[in-house]
């Protein structure tokens, strides 16, 4: 059996990263759990495949005309700072902005890079940066939010979906909030939004957008917002929002849903209590104690008992499943050249229901069981078994070598092989159903009587079959 600490390491890396390879597990085993958490929260450097290599090999990535999901996938696969990418993914799911309307992927990538830079800082600062993010401004039409003719779209969504949640503000608050954000726009907004609408690349490709405050269309008059009054602008409104308990509860529940256990979809939060109210209370308390600092809230979450005890309570999102599998298979680890197949591979996540940079709506993706439709499940199983079942992949070769080294004698029991293969792909609790399924792979008559105690020869083909079965199991769909 693996030790509890090994299970915890795997759990932590599943949730705060994209799984763990056997070598990484060895390295992590030398550290305390608390140090591991600190390393994730404070990575020494953001090591990942270099942009210069990516851009030289795939020049269209330089301008991000297309391929941003592939570019981001490369970052997630190669990063040594997985929590940074995980937090970017977290905010991308909440502040869901889609290229289907923007037609400007580079601007959207700048938003994702903003999440990477600011995603673990003070929530107030993140909301200000979001409110000045040109992709978000065009996505929610704030370039049309004028002092004499307000557009409520951004004012509504920042309250409903980005901070407080339905039921914690009035329709008047929405209007006042929108007034505060008048004039928060992008440079050359008329031309840029026209090019976005027409999906125009002419004459010289897409021009990336940047924030521009237009004082001439900003409403400077008094506003009444959430019980306070003054000539508020967007910064003031965000300060007021971030001081609300509803905001703390909303962000806490999102963090719980993403890192701890699947919750019901956001539209049901108004009527459905949290799965673990005490855990939410703990995170809310941390939010205020640490002055809205997301990293501090994360530290409390990742070191809490409710987190440590939440193993196998989440269904991996498509991106988690795809990236975790590719980190394990080691297919894209050569940092001297770039493999074009990444473009097709990351598209598999789309088929499973999560297209990076194109969330289904401003509400983002519904998570948990909604990831699993019959079609998506087939895609997930096929994807994992194809990549982990391919002995040409460097990571798989390495796993084979490790299992041979682990099981030094030529003959071992099926049970020992199951355990070794499971540990290699991050599964530490193998169910009876999964073990029985592995037994069905073997044709020896004695399996009928000896079960997992049956001796077998440890050969590559046998190991690969068990590995494929393991990543096709229910356990591999969970984290």
């Amino acid at each position: 059996m693996v030790s509890t600490s090994t299970e915890l390491i795997i759990h932590l890396m599943n949730r705060a990263g994209f799984g763990i390879t056997p070598d990484e597990l060895d390295a992590c085993s030398l550290m305390t759990y608390e140090d591991l958490v600190e390393n994730l929260l404070n990575p020494s450097e953001s090591a990942h495949i270099s942009d210069d290599i990516l851009f030289r090999d795939h020049v269209d990535l330089h301008a991000s005309r297309s391929g941003v999901p592939a570019y981001w996938a490369y970052r997630m696969i190669s990063t040594q700072s997985p929590l940074e990418e995980k937090m970017s993914l977290f905010w991308h799911g909440i502040f869901a902005t889609g290229n289907s309307k923007l037609n400007n992927l580079r601007t959207l990538l700048n938003q994702i890079e903003m999440f990477r830079r600011s995603g673990t800082g003070k929530f107030d600062d993140l909301l200000i940066k979001l409110s000045q993010d040109p992709a978000m401004l065009i996505w929610l039409d704030n370039q049309d939010n004028l002092n004499e003719s307000i557009n409520e779209n951004y004012g509504r969504e920042i309250l409903e979906l980005f901070s407080m949640g339905v039921g914690n503000y009035t329709e008047d608050d929405i209007k006042e909030c929108a007034r505060a954000f008048t004039g928060w726009s992008v440079a050359n907004s008329e031309y840029m939004s026209l090019m976005a609408q027409k999906d125009s690349i002419w004459p010289y490709g897409r021009i990336v957008w940047h924030y521009d405050f237009k004082p001439g269309i900003h409403d400077v008059d008094n506003k009444e917002f959430l019980g306070e009054a003054g000539p508020f602008n967007g910064d003031d409104v965000i300060r007021i929002i971030c001081n609300q308990e509803a905001t703390a509860r909303f962000i806490a529940r999102h963090m719980y849903n993403f890192f701890v256990a699947d919750e019901v979809p956001v539209p049901q939060w108004k009527d459905t209590p949290p799965k673990d109210p005490a855990a939410i209370d703990t995170l809310v308390e941390a939010y205020f104690k640490y002055e809205h600092d997301i990293k501090s809230v994360l530290r409390v979450l990742l070191t809490s008992d409710f987190f440590k005890e939440s193993r196998y309570q989440k269904i991996k999102s498509p991106v988690e499943l795809v990236i975790g599998t590719l980190r394990l298979s080691g297919e894209y680890n050569d940092d001297s050249k770039v493999d074009s197949s990444i473009f097709g591979v990351i598209a598999e996540s789309d088929y499973m229901g999560q297209a990076l940079c194109n969330p289904p709506s401003v509400e983002g993706w519904h998570t948990g069981e909604e990831w699993i439709s019959s079609g998506a499940l087939v895609d997930r199983v096929n994807f994992a078994s194809q990549h982990i079942g391919n002995p040409d992949n460097d990571g798989v070769k390495h796993i084979l070598n490790r299992i041979h080294a682990d099981l030094k004698n030529d003959t071992h029991t099926i049970g020992e092989l199951i355990e070794s293969c499971g540990n290699s792909v991050g599964i530490t609790r193998i169910s009876g159903d999964t073990a029985d399924g592995v037994l069905d792979l073997f044709t020896q008559e004695e399996v009928q009587t000896n079960g997992q105690d049956t001796d077998i020869a440890i050969e590559d083909g046998t190991i690969l079959r068990v590995l494929e079965f393991m990543v096709s199991s229910r356990e591999y769909q969970l984290c």
Partner: protein, 342 residues
């Protein structure tokens, strides 16, 4: 150095007029008619669709294209990188995926290819031809992206000599890319990942090293291309710094270009039939650069404006010493007056 003109327009179509991530050009002044530009497009990493060479006159009269993946097997490209003409007006194109130099006549008819060999190098399964330069005697120099060497070949493809090796010492390379030969037969190599230009004589003896890593004037960030005019002025595509630096023969910086694009003939034609965009464009200030602090670097400044270089990947001089800067991410060529023209 003043801008002479801007050539091109973006297109996302796999065939026809318009550029899509242009990667290099070759200029032919020797066909007895107008100056003709051959431009290599390398779009769409996922499908390669639209990878091809287009050719057109300096006045933007469209002539044709070849090398499309839809073409027959011999002519089509997989991952082409650079191109150059020999004295017989044969266009040579490197393809780093197939380890070939493909050779075409000036009408785009495929003639033959030279296969580059990595067998003599241990642990190397690919040559990865990147840059190409052909001297006045039709010797071919090709830089190897994977082997980190320069090979000198006869016009038939026989290896005459080879030098270099992986490293950052004098005469070594890290992923070399574009090259050019000067009037005296010396070779200049953009030593891409060492952030420098190395100059060799025709036998591979190191003569000079220009530049080092950085953003200051005289420093480079991943130089991708180098060209030398008849007065021995050296243009360097300082790709990662989104600029072109002009050096004199001794390496002193004469000029730094950041781009000053105008509307090309094809762009004017397009805007003439898309009046809503032309009018909105006329009301915009596309040189505006009031960027937030985190975007204040060469890449973002280039991406957020239209006139600046964005991805200046290739530099070439024509026979009048006019400088052509090809920008992959703005899908155009900016042409500049000769260096030192008063």
């Amino acid at each position: 150095m003043k801008t002479v003109k801007t050539i091109g327009i973006n297109s996302n179509q796999p065939v026809g007029r318009g550029f899509n991530f242009p990667y290099d050009i070759a200029i032919n002044d020797d066909l007895g008619k107008s100056r003709i530009i051959y431009l290599l497009n390398r779009p769409n990493s996922a499908t390669r669709l639209g990878t091809r060479i287009q050719y057109f006159t300096f006045e933007e009269e469209w002539i044709g294209e070849f090398g499309n993946p839809l073409d027959d097997d011999e002519a089509k490209f997989t991952r082409p990188v650079t191109l150059d003409f020999n004295s017989k007006n044969q266009l040579h194109v490197t393809d780093e995926a197939t380890d070939e130099i493909k050779i075409f006549d000036s009408d785009g008819n495929f003639q033959r290819f030279i296969k580059l060999d990595s067998d003599s190098h241990r642990n190397a399964d690919q040559f990865g031809p990147a840059g190409i330069a052909i001297d006045s005697d039709d010797f071919i120099y090709v830089s190897s992206r994977y082997l980190n060497v320069i090979q000198k070949l006869t016009s038939e493809g026989r290896v005459v000599t080879e030098w270099g090796g992986a490293g950052s010492g004098p005469g070594e390379f890290e992923m070399p890319w574009g090259m050019d030969v000067d009037a005296q037969g010396n070779l200049y190599v953009a030593d891409w990942r060492n952030d420098r230009i190395q100059k060799f004589d025709s036998e591979g003896n190191l003569l000079h090293i220009f530049g080092e890593s950085g953003v200051a004037i005289g420093q480079f960030n991943r130089p991708s291309s180098v060209a030398v005019d008849t007065n021995m002025n050296i243009a360097v595509a300082d790709w990662g710094n989104e600029r072109v630096q002009i050096l004199d023969e001794g390496g002193s910086v004469l000029n730094v270009l950041e781009g000053d694009a105008t509307l090309s003939k094809w762009s004017h034609e397009w805007l003439d039939v898309n009046l809503d965009e032309r009018e909105a464009r006329n009301r915009a200030d596309l040189k505006a650069l009031d960027l937030p602090e985190h975007l204040k670097n060469a890449y973002h400044e280039a991406s957020q404006t239209e006139h600046k270089f964005w991805g200046p990947v290739s530099v070439k001089f024509d026979s009048d010493n006019q400088l052509y800067v090809t920008e992959h991410s703005r899908h155009r060529i900016q042409v500049f007056e000769p260096v030192n023209l008063k």
